[in-house]
Symmetry: D3
Subunit: 254 residues, 6 copies
């Protein structure tokens, strides 16, 4: 880490929005943003704004019945004008696109990665992440915000006697952040303008203990070396530690 910071300090790279290469955009996590859901969080990472809700329901889908285990699943979507050009609604087109499917599955896996399904019992938590405004990093913001909504939903279930208070349903925190290589330079937390010019793009979900839940690195435009991978993971670790601090802070404010 120190090495990277040192290297980065020499050139003193400045990004379009004035951030240092290892600096997150301003993050704001608003809990209880709407009243109906068991967990409802608005997360803002720079201009990216995602509404994350967690729905707790007793019982599990049929294929999971009588297993004694719970289930956590996620759905991601973008409002039509989250983006600078309007995108048609998937409901109107009558089918879900590949990108939506891919991201929904990613979010679901990350959250399941920190939930003890046995402790959850035969209950289901459905996560919905709806992007109100998109400026890069919507999938990682979704994961980070969804964790807080999940924590609130579990707390709600405990306070409503749907889960025993002493069960440790959530085994660890989880947050995620994007990193990428732009113009040969590894950087943390890419907004859209950077993301679209990145040669390599990686999303990293980490636990509070510092282990990985999911790594997705893609280099459609220029393959990346193992050394670059190392640098990217260093940045991602730094970003995730900071995001997790904000998650904890938000969850302590009640």
């Amino acid at each position: 880490m120190v090495q990277i910071k040192d290297m980065l300090d020499v050139e003193q790279t400045i990004r379009p929005d004035g951030r240092a290469v290892d600096e997150l955009r301003p993050v704001r996590i608003t809990r209880h943003w709407t009243e109906a859901p068991e967990g409802s969080v608005l997360i803002e990472c720079g201009k990216t704004r995602v509404m994350c809700t967690a729905t707790f329901t007793q019982g599990v889908p049929r294929w999971r019945k009588d297993s004694g285990l719970g289930w956590v699943t996620a759905e991601y979507a973008m409002l039509p004008r989250a983006t600078s050009e309007r995108t048609d609604r998937e409901s109107v087109r009558g089918k879900i696109g590949g990108r939506t499917h891919e991201i929904s599955r990613l979010i679901g896996r990350c959250l399941r990665g920190v939930v003890d399904m046995k402790a959850l019992g035969e209950n289901q938590i459905q996560i919905d992440c709806d992007v109100l405004q998109a400026d890069g990093g919507t999938r990682t913001a979704s994961i980070t915000g969804a964790y807080v909504a999940l924590a609130d939903a579990v707390a709600w279930a405990k306070s409503h006697k749907m889960l025993r208070a002493n069960r440790q349903v959530i085994r660890d925190q989880v947050s995620a952040v994007s990193v990428g290589v732009i113009d040969g330079k590894p950087m943390l937390d890419l907004p859209y303008v950077e993301d679209s010019q990145a040669m390599t793009d990686m999303n990293v979900a980490m636990t509070g203990a510092g282990a990985f839940i999911e790594i997705q690195g893609t280099a459609e435009h220029r393959p990346f070396t193992r050394a670059e991978l190392g640098e990217l993971l260093d940045l991602a670790e730094k970003g995730n530690r900071e995001l997790q601090a904000m998650q904890r802070k938000a969850l302590n404010e009640d």
Copy 2:
């Protein structure tokens, strides 16, 4: 239920939320709520919260080409946890439900009712109304908020030289409000708890000049008389006049 009924029986009817029968819920209209759309409004009517965006694009759909006329259309949707029980996404179900279709069409007609298509020229404005939280009156809140977003989009197009500044594209204001008969008593602006027990339910869209753009009254549970219709329209007129004052106030704050 019993409590509400009892309350309604007293001379001076007081509603569950303490309002008088002819009183609107608190309304808040926030313009420029997101940055990407040409018009972006968050409208809050009590707990009902709808994000209304207006997308201005040059050109019209194929069937409208070479007519010299513009087009305005609308799409309405609810986020899964806008409601107390989670509703499945229409994108996941692969089809749009009848209610969504019905409301989208209503919103589109109401806005077209105040737009001069010749003045708009061959340009299109797409309205998106996404309900973030639903507590009754989501379709009327959508119309009221969408009008403000529409006005902003037209102003944007003028300032970007896509419409000539002196064209009067918008002929009049439009707002909408719900009214209904509960326990024999006509009332203004029903939240969910009242809406679900209303015998008659009516949505009324009016222009600034006080004429009707759309009246939809439905009495699945008990037919209504012409006298009741008159009382409901009186309430709706009062409500719409107040909503229009708020629209004007919002549009004057820049």
Copy 3:
């Protein structure tokens, strides 16, 4: 168009088809038009021709089970060449259009408005309205014809001991008619040629007792005043009284 306009200007307005402004088109109601359904009606209003069937089945949809209540629902559709230009089948397009949804829901609400669900018990009546030829007023003809099919299906169920003979399942008649303002003049029962030039268009469903079940007035092209609303409702009342007489006549002929 010019011809029509000129005709409308004269004192004694005569319509393209020679009717007075408050005159219905010729109506013919043929019961038992096909043999399979429990109720089967062909209704003809001028050139508009709709086949209305009522299917009586024991049991209700799952969400209604164990409520002790029945259910009435409706589906509306147009054959491809009901219109002068062929319209693609919704089955081929793979989805139901907004207009179809909107009208199906309207028909369903109107019929439910006169059915006592408790008296119907846990039975379902499905109404199908298929437009064989369309010349304006297809949705109102559907409601008027569907009522007769519904009455036949209830009678069938009673004669087959699926409903007790003394239960009053149908509380009142219901019929519907369109009215509109053409060139400033309110008129009753608009055929396609008039409907397409109407500034205001309203569909009114009434009970035999003269109360409203549904009012849908839309003024995409020119808002309407409360005075015009009054005149339109007068015409609609006259039209509905006449339609109800024809319904009763048809039901008495066995």
Copy 4:
């Protein structure tokens, strides 16, 4: 069943409806049944009742452009209560079933089999066959009725100068009839009650010249021999000759 079987055992087989084994059900062909289509025919074969329309449009689908050839296509559908049990609409289910597809393709092939695509030029004729009431033989009735609608549409196009009067677009007549083996006995024109107990079932489309356009024989329940095939084709020839006489008679009545 037993009764029918017993009846069939007697020397002079009499069918449930009193017909001889080689006798068609009563056929009625009504031309100009609705006004909008270029060809509109109601065909009734016993209780089976199909509305056949032909839509003539200038131009051909894209894949056929600049070929100098025309195109004829067909769509078949059943109204929900054409049958004794209501069948769900394919538009509501969101997809077309295999049976519908199979029959639509059959009808299209049969009509194309008698049309000279060069003489038709780059014009399209769309056939719609909507079954209003089904009592067996709906696909063969559709073909027989559609031929008459097709002939009317071609005549319409000629009288409207969209086809030159001297072009022989239709090369020959086409009609179709079902035959089947019931209880070992070949029979002509099966209504539903017979069709459902047939071991072998065959649909035969023939030209006026007596050649075959399509033969579809299926023996899910008991294979058939070549001798039986011969007998079935004899019956089909007789039936088709009679149907073609009725087609000619209908077309001569104007």
Copy 5:
């Protein structure tokens, strides 16, 4: 085309691939081609290559429950590059085309035609025929190959005690072959190049006993006479006898 035509004119007709008019293409039937299915067959008829699998499952679809009868069904599909031009996947288009439906139903009927549903008991066999390479005759190759997969699945079920060993579930063999008239000459087993120029095209499924299960003859381009039908059936009988010998040979090799 000219070359082929010239060749066909000579006394001893020789086909593009050198075969006599009554000669099958080389056939290869490979059993146990994959390991997972209860029956798995690769059938090659010339260049046409179809993977046929049979899935045996205990229980039947809901509509068949408590009937004591089994069920056999089939699904046919083509891989995108089975053909010389790539065809879009039906999964991507979101719906199954008419041709696929038609062929799937044909295969299902042919196999059901030789299965004793009572002997099968309440078990289901699902046939999947996936065309890996298409050079004409894919539907008939599917039927011929599927029969072998079906036989293997029944044997598997017997050896796994899911069917009693002494039950004769399969009553007879079934195979299918295409025949057609090219340039006035009836021919057996048409590859794509011949199929596309055939005036008449017929698919004939026969049992080992020599009876017909299904005959589908279509003559979109030139009607066929009864004499031609006879010749085509002669060729089809010869072809099917040879195919059945190959099926038996394959089933004897274990």
Copy 6:
């Protein structure tokens, strides 16, 4: 399970199929497996068997027109009985599942990662990967096989003068392999039985130069540390080097 676990405990870990932890399953790459496609490869990795075809077409999708750049895209699918239990066809269900979408996108990105879109010019290559038999690692086998099909399609285009011979369209090789942690032990190339018990599962696509195109590591069941990541990448590098040698060998055999 117990047996496997015990085996893994011994010093020299032996896997269920006898392989060492860093050993690939036997791989077979068959080029020109079918004749129609421009590239057609059957790849077998143990029992996993995938048919990979590459379709070369001139021109690009509309959104890419006039860019001077080519396009490469991929679609992945499984035949219904590739798996031990039959899975329903996505064409029958009417929609593509999330897993299919996710894998199709992965394959597309990996191949685009080694193609020079400028050198390809405005041409498109569509990759189809159809899994005939699935035993783990189907997505990585697809990538490895698709690369060979892609190379053949490019060679085909050059020999057919659709690409200039001296253009280096393919910049590098690409192959992919799965690695995972089972019972704490990193292993290479997991078959289904191992994959289903892996705590961490990673797919790694590498170029011939040893750089990464895509890394997807997921740890739904137990997060993984950076040290484990290192070990997994070492295994993946070894596997990919071996797979690339086999790709080269296959491409040299003509």
